[in-house]
């Protein structure tokens, strides 16, 4: 309990009560939710913002003169403004609303890279990436004859920085790199890497899916050209996401999808595309979802991202310490710089069995490959158990996890 008090700053620990999903029993035990890296729970304010929007303000956006359409447009575009200031983009034109990180990355692969890749050109990624930051590049490389180059990692799950720099050559047409590995929690040294890439004229896409929910983000000081993230990992709705892109790059890119809203004029002789960011937002957007994302940003801002980072950092230390003390455990992902994710293996218990036993005790973790099969291959495992933290977790959650793991060990003893 002393640990509990140490970990929880009053303001951050209090947040837990704002999340209705956390206050339920699962298999007759109070739920311990340690799967936020897969998808986070929502505070009441987000759930209600979406429901209120639907009850009172819904209509299609952008093209309507009636009151509901104005309210919907104001709510939707107001959320864009919130996103802009949350990540400190220099203009709202740089905030393209997508359905998630995956679509954001595919958009860059197809609209930015595909037209400018030739055989022999390279896309550089790392061995740490999520499938969503691998497969879009495999596809565009196959389409264009470009080559996908993968920077290696070491046994702690860190980028091998020397090897990385030796691969960062001037035939690289894009560096696509995670801010935080979802499987291992590794935080990549973007403050060093991005300036180096930029000095070689290499555009940089940052997969921020696991960054933005957990630390303050400033895309201008990061210096990246693209930054992709998902609403559902930052306590907002599924089906929402963002692609931040520098205006000059977005401007020069062809649209990704065609349809309503992304045009100024359509005729069969030719079509004039709309201004940024609308050029990349074809069709009716996820209005209610984006309204919810705006509410999630309000919520995060009220708690404070630095505070959240500090809370999670302390809790991660506690998690790693406590898990490390369990006999027969192997921690996977022990980088010096980490965010609140810990993968592990227990004895020779298959992670799926472990997941079932933990779930039976009300402890929700993720098991399997975490959409990062190359990471699994690297560590020679088919999958891991993974506990991931968010602002609403506390030391008691960690204690419950460790207890549940001990029980699994007894069953398999």
């Amino acid at each position: 309990m002393t640990q509990l008090q140490k970990c929880d700053q009053p303001q951050v620990a209090d947040c837990r009560q704002d999340f209705p999903a956390l206050h339920q029993d699962v298999n007759a035990h109070a739920l311990v939710y340690l799967d936020s890296a897969a998808s986070a729970q929502q505070p009441t304010s987000v759930i209600e913002a979406v429901a209120d929007y639907q009850r009172e303000d819904h209509a299609n956006v952008h093209r309507g003169v009636h009151t509901l359409s104005h309210r919907a447009t104001d709510a939707y575009e107001g959320a864009r403004d919130k996103i802009q200031s949350f990540i400190n983009a220099s203009s709202r034109s740089e905030i393209v609303l997508t359905s998630g990180t995956t679509e954001s990355i595919n958009l860059v692969a197809q609209s930015f890279c595909r037209p400018r890749l030739d055989p022999g050109d390279k896309i550089l990624i790392t061995h740490l990436e999520h499938h969503s930051n691998i497969v879009p590049w495999q596809i565009v490389c196959e389409q264009t004859g470009a080559e996908l180059v993968v920077a290696p990692i070491n046994t702690r799950g860190e980028l091998d920085i020397d090897a990385f720099y030796s691969l960062l050559t001037d035939d690289v047409r894009l560096l696509a790199i995670a801010q935080v590995s979802n499987a291992l929690g590794t935080v990549n040294p973007l403050r060093d890497i991005i300036p180096r890439a930029k000095s070689l004229g290499i555009p940089v896409l940052v997969d921020g899916a696991q960054g933005v929910p957990h630390m303050p983000i400033d895309v201008q000081s990061l210096g990246c050209d693209f930054y992709a993230f998902s609403g559902h990992k930052m306590f907002g709705p599924t089906g929402t996401g963002v692609l931040f892109g520098k205006e000059s790059l977005l401007d020069a890119m062809p649209p990704y999808q065609g349809g309503g809203d992304m045009i100024l004029e359509v005729s069969f002789d030719g079509t004039v595309y709309n201004d940024l960011p609308y050029k990349f937002e074809a069709g009716t957007p996820n209005i209610s979802g984006v309204v919810g994302l705006g509410a999630a940003i309000d919520y995060l801002s009220s708690v404070g991202m630095s505070r959240i980072a500090q809370h999670e950092g302390q809790l991660l230390a506690y998690l790693m310490q406590k898990l490390g003390e369990v006999e027969g455990i192997r921690l996977i992902g022990t980088a010096a710089e980490k965010s609140g994710v810990q993968s592990f293996l227990v004895d020779d218990i298959h992670s799926h069995d472990l997941g079932t036993i933990l779930d039976h005790q009300g402890v929700a973790i993720r098991t399997g490959h975490h959409c990062a099969m190359p990471v699994m291959d690297f560590f020679g495992v088919s999958g891991t158990a993974r506990a991931s933290l968010a602002l609403y977790n506390n030391a008691e959650d960690v204690d419950r996890l460790v207890e549940a793991v001990e029980k699994a060990r007894q069953i398999f003893a």
Partner: protein, 161 residues
């Protein structure tokens, strides 16, 4: 949807019975057999289980030998091990009846499973604990699905997801 499942604390012990853990740790017929006549792969993307089942059917239509390779969770490995144990020496038609009985037994517990088909089904009861864990039924039936697809000469891997 938020009903509290009142699992007794023993559900886990039921799932991971001694027999299951034993077969999971020491799978029988693990490896390759000579001259398999039928093989099939079973994949459960949910937990990454991946099994390859090999069977040799003799000219009388009996299963002369069977084995499996691959990796998976305790339930799927134990189930595969039990399967190979059960089907060796059994006519193909009976083995396929076994498939029906096992899948019914795990998914529709009210059916009368005690039909006598001339195979010792007692070991199969070891899997009964899975019923309380619907998410694990796929693990328990993976090898059985592979058996059926091997017998039907399918070549694409079967997936239980």
């Amino acid at each position: 949807m938020n009903a509290v499942d009142l699992h007794s604390g023993d559900d886990l012990r039921e799932l991971y019975r001694e027999l299951i853990l034993d077969h999971a740790r020491n799978p029988r017929h693990f490896g390759k057999i000579d001259h398999p006549t039928h093989t099939a792969e079973g994949i459960n993307p949910l937990c990454g289980d991946k099994l390859r089942l090999s069977v040799r059917v003799d000219r009388h239509g009996n299963i002369a030998d069977a084995s499996f390779e691959g990796s998976g969770c305790a339930i799927s490995v134990a189930s595969a091990s039990l399967l190979t144990d059960m089907i060796i020496g059994v006519p193909v038609a009976q083995a396929l009846t076994c498939f029906d009985i096992v899948t019914q037994r795990l998914t529709a517990p009210d059916v009368d499973h005690e039909r006598d088909i001339g195979i010792d089904l007692s070991k199969i009861k070891a899997l009964d604990g899975v019923r309380e864990f619907p998410s694990r039924v796929k693990c328990a039936t993976l090898a059985w699905h592979a058996l059926r697809s091997a017998m039907h000469g399918q070549t694409a891997p079967v997936s239980t997801e």
